[in-house]
């Protein structure tokens, strides 16, 4: 069930003087069951790219295939695509509107035209998957905390049973615990259901801690597409495009300069701890 982008170009206002070439020759494949981080500074084309994944924008040039089929062919149902590729926007809690949590999560599957029992079963499962127990079902979504609201919004997309879940900065504005909870739930979800997750984030630490592959965007092109250790090895290049490496990477670089035999490519606290302990023992 992969999603494949072939030489995708997108130009905003292509027939005007103000044309902006937002995506340039993007080739990318999102296979089954992968946790992918998408990073890039403001205006690098991340959001434009994300909106191509579920057919909200049509490429000016190039093709997008879902499960081998061109999504812009007439016979391809956008409704089906959007139930398979779920998109959670920034600040999704602003889109909550129902009287209680359960009804809000039912809204998506109900619109798919599913029978009532199926709709409710999906909503129930989605809410449990994001870690909200039954006691929240009848509460107004507006009385929940920021992190809880966001989980309701994510459940609303999960209830569509997507094969690919795309989240645009799901932790913006949350406190550190709320951030860890959301990302922990998403990682858990990925393990439980085997779906693919694309995480758009400005936090290099979050990306380093959770994803297995990082796609770096710059000026509408893919700059790097690799495992975190490799991508964060390019500290200079990342800084040049307005990004950074995780903070532990900087610490390790500094230690190397001072003659410690540590692994510079460690990207998480646990990896950094282990390589420092090792270096001290053998040194």
């Amino acid at each position: 069930m992969s999603l494949k982008l072939e030489h995708v170009n997108y130009i905003y206002g292509s027939d005007t003087k103000l044309a902006v070439h937002a995506l340039k020759d993007i080739c990318l494949e999102i296979p089954d069951g992968q946790f992918i981080g998408l990073i890039g500074h403001t205006g690098s084309g991340k959001s434009t790219l994300v909106q191509h994944l579920n057919g909200l924008l049509e490429p000016t040039e190039g093709k997008i295939f879902y499960d081998g089929r061109d999504i812009w062919e007439k016979s391809f149902s956008k409704k089906e695509l959007r139930s398979n590729v779920g998109l959670v926007f920034q600040y999704p809690e602003h889109q909550l509107f129902e009287v209680d949590v359960f009804s809000d999560v039912c809204y998506g599957p109900k619109n798919l035209g599913l029978p009532k029992e199926e709709v409710e079963a999906r909503a129930r499962q989605a809410l449990r998957l994001v870690g909200l127990s039954e006691e929240y079902d009848k509460q107004s979504p507006f009385e929940l905390s920021g992190g809880q609201k966001r989980r309701v919004a994510i459940a609303g997309v999960l209830a569509m049973r997507p094969k690919i879940l795309v989240l645009d900065e799901p932790t913006a504005g949350l406190d550190p615990k709320g951030r860890d909870e959301i990302l922990g739930q998403i990682a858990h979800l990925k393990r439980e259901t085997g779906i693919s997750v694309v995480l758009v984030s400005h936090s290099m630490e979050d990306v380093a801690n959770y994803v297995e592959r990082i796609v770096v965007m710059n000026r509408g092109s893919v700059l790097f597409d690799d495992v975190p250790r490799e991508v964060f090895g390019h500290v200079k290049e990342l800084e040049e495009v307005g990004l950074a490496a995780p903070q532990v990477t900087y610490i390790l670089h500094q230690l190397v300069e001072c003659g410690f035999a540590v692994d510079r490519q460690a990207t998480t606290i646990a990896e950094a701890r282990d390589t420092i302990l090792n270096a001290l023992k053998t040194g």
């Binding site: 500074h41 615990k177 500094q254 410690f260 001290l280």
Partner: protein, 286 residues
Amino acid sequence: MSIIEAAHVSYDYIRRDEEGNIEGEVRAVNDVSLSIAPGDFIAILGHNGSGKSTLAKHINALLVPSEGTVLVDGKDTKLEENVWEVRQSAGMVFQNPDNQIIGQVVEEDVGFGPENMGIPTKEIWERVEESLKMVGMYAYRKHSPNKLSGGQKQRVSIAGVLAMHPKCIVLDEPTAMLDPNGRKDVIRAARALNDVEGVTVILITHYMEEVIFADRVFVMDEGRIVMQGTPREVFSQVERLQKLRLDVPQVTLLAHELQKSGLPLPDGILTAEELTAELEKLRDAG
């Protein structure tokens, strides 16, 4: 004299039903007393819903206490006749850069505040120029704010507050929506106006790294101040902070993990330099 003096401040949000009857009350700030000296760089931490934004809104009289008093530069915020002066003394910058810019051109936006204060035109332009230079946005003075990045917009918002010559500026999660570079630029601008201009800065944030150079850190929970001290004192208490749904800077966390694995490191390491120096000591001793 302190620039901000809060004495036993409590604030209740009152929920009303459609007829206006009181449905319930939530005490968002609970008996908070604090005093901030002119020229300090203060950070306020706390999880979502801990009351930090509610407290911040008291500093420029967007909210007035249900109980207790807040004095800004000696003026009681509760008195209607003080509101203008209080807002001139204490400016505020919010989280979302798109909600606080109104001008069509950067320099017009920055001039809006002083213009409203009735400042003569010539002086407005002087203030606009000086404020934009302060935040490193002077080169963009003729640009449309729409074309700026989030970090640039936030710096324009800060310039807009600076142009009113405040004694104190409250930044309520100014970097929450920004990319790493934008975040760095905004924090750099805030530090510069504190260091160079001596403006009192009160920074509310979820990014622990942004507060390591603050003079004092306050941690809020359930409307109260539950911890306060220098960054080193506060961040030494890793487990306590985690219980409060917070975090410590990554360097501090790494040092804490190394401590737990048996390395004799001091508490509250805040920078990569400190950690490197401590590890070098250990290596040379071993």
